[in-house]
Subunit: 213 residues, 2 copies
C-alpha cells in the first residue's frame, strides 16, 4: 500500500538546520555539515547531475531505498526556494535549478497562490489550502507509490503532529549545531515510534521508524 514517508538529516542535538538561516546559508550557520555524509556519495552526484563520482558505502543502499517507489513529494515554500521575503512577487524558480532532482510532482505548501511550474520532468504545484489538501493531491498523483514529506522541519512537524506520517527516517549526523531549527519540536508527546532498523555509515547513523498511531 502507498505510504507517507519522511527522511531527513538532523544533528545529534536534533537540528535540521543551524542558526541564522539566510539566502546565502539556507541551512543556517554550520548546517552544510549535516549533509557531508550525503554529498560525498556517488549516488548523490549521480542523482543531482554532478557527475563527480564519489563513495559507495553503507549509506548507498539506504539512499537507494529512500529514492525507490516515490510517486510524489511535499515540501514547504522555504525548501522549494522561497527563503525569507516575498518571492511570490518574483517568479523565482526555486533552489533546484533547471533540472530539479525530483522527477515526480512536488506539492509546495505556501500562502501564495501561483501557477504550477514545470522544470524538466519535475512539476511544482503550489498548494494554499493546507497540509491535508496537499497530501490528498500528492496521494492522487502518486497512485500506488509513496508520498514523501521532504521538509522543512515545520512542515514535517505538522504532518507528524497530525498523525499523517507512516515512516520517519532520521539520518543522524554526529555533530552538534547548538542552535537552529529543531526537527521534533512542536509535535507534542502523542507520537510513538517503533524502530525498523539502524545502519552505521561514515559520518551518519540512519535510524528508521514506523510511526504508531
Amino acid at each position: 500500500m502507498s505510504k507517507v514517508r519522511c527522511g531527513i538529516t538532523v544533528s545529534l542535538d536534533g537540528y535540521a538546520a543551524g542558526p541564522n538561516q539566510s539566502k546565502e546559508e539556507p541551512l543556517g550557520v554550520g548546517g552544510e555539515r549535516l549533509h557531508e555524509w550525503f554529498v560525498e556519495l556517488e549516488i548523490f552526484n549521480r542523482t543531482h547531475g554532478t557527475d563527480y563520482g564519489g563513495e559507495v558505502n553503507a549509506s548507498t543502499p539506504v539512499v537507494e531505498e529512500s529514492l525507490a517507489n516515490v510517486g510524489a513529494k511535499i515540501m514547504g515554500r522555504n525548501m522549494f526556494g522561497g527563503g525569507p521575503g516575498p518571492w511570490s512577487a518574483d517568479p523565482w524558480p526555486g533552489w533546484w535549478g533547471e533540472d530539479p532532482p525530483f522527477h515526480v510532482p512536488v506539492f509546495v505548501l505556501t500562502h501564495h497562490a501561483r501557477e504550477p511550474l514545470t522544470l524538466s520532468d519535475t512539476t511544482f504545484v503550489f498548494v494554499t489550502d493546507g497540509p491535508e489538501s496537499a497530501l490528498e493531491q500528492a496521494r492522487k498523483a502518486a497512485g500506488d507509490k509513496d508520498v514523501t514529506i521532504d521538509g522543512g522541519a515545520n512542515v514535517i512537524q505538522q504532518y507528524l503532529a497530525a498523525g499523517l506520517i507512516d515512516e520517519l527516517e532520521l539520518h543522524v549526523a554526529p555533530i552538534l549545531l547548538g542552535g537552529g531549527e529543531r526537527l521534533l519540536d512542536n509535535v507534542g508527546s502523542g507520537v510513538e515510534l517503533e524502530l525498523i532498523r539502524a545502519v552505521n555509515a561514515p559520518k551518519v547513523t540512519h535510524v528508521k521508524y514506523r510511526v504508531v498511531k
Copy 2:
C-alpha cells in the same frame, strides 16, 4: 587506558527527563517511559537487586559492556537524590536505598559540603569544588578502570562542553516527550563525534560515539 564514558537514555526529541520533575516523578511527566527498554531486562533486575527475571535481548550485551570496567562514577546532586530543596540540612541517603547499584565510589557534584556516605559497598563522596576536581578524584579512585559520568543532563553538558568525555552512548527511546530537560543543550557546536556502533533493540536504539577533541 582509562576512559571517561557517559551513557544515558534520551527520547527521540532529545530529552533526558520529561517536564515538571518532582520528588514523585524524578524523571518528569512521562519520563519513566524512557527506561521501559531497561527495566524489562533480566540484567536490570539482576543488578538492581529485584530478582524478577526479565528479558535477554540485543540490549543485554550493550548493558553488560556499559557496566564492565567501571572504577568510579560522577553524578549531580539531583541524581544522587537531592531533588529540589536544601537536602543538605537533612542527611537524606539518596534515591538509591541501602544497597545502591553502583558498587564503586560515586563522586557527587554539589554546592553543599557533606561527609562521605557509605551504603553497603558504595561510598558517595560529595565534591564542592567543581567538575574538574570531581574528575581528578574519580580518576584516582578508578585507577586503570574507567570513570562514568552518570547525569543528570546538566552535569553531562558541563563535561561535554569541557571536552572531558571520551565516549558518549545514547540509548534512544522511540518516544517524544515534547518538553523537559534536553541532554545536548548548552554544549555549543564545538564537539564532534565519531560513530562507534549502533544497535537495534526492543524499545531502544543504542548509539555509541567517540568524542573527537
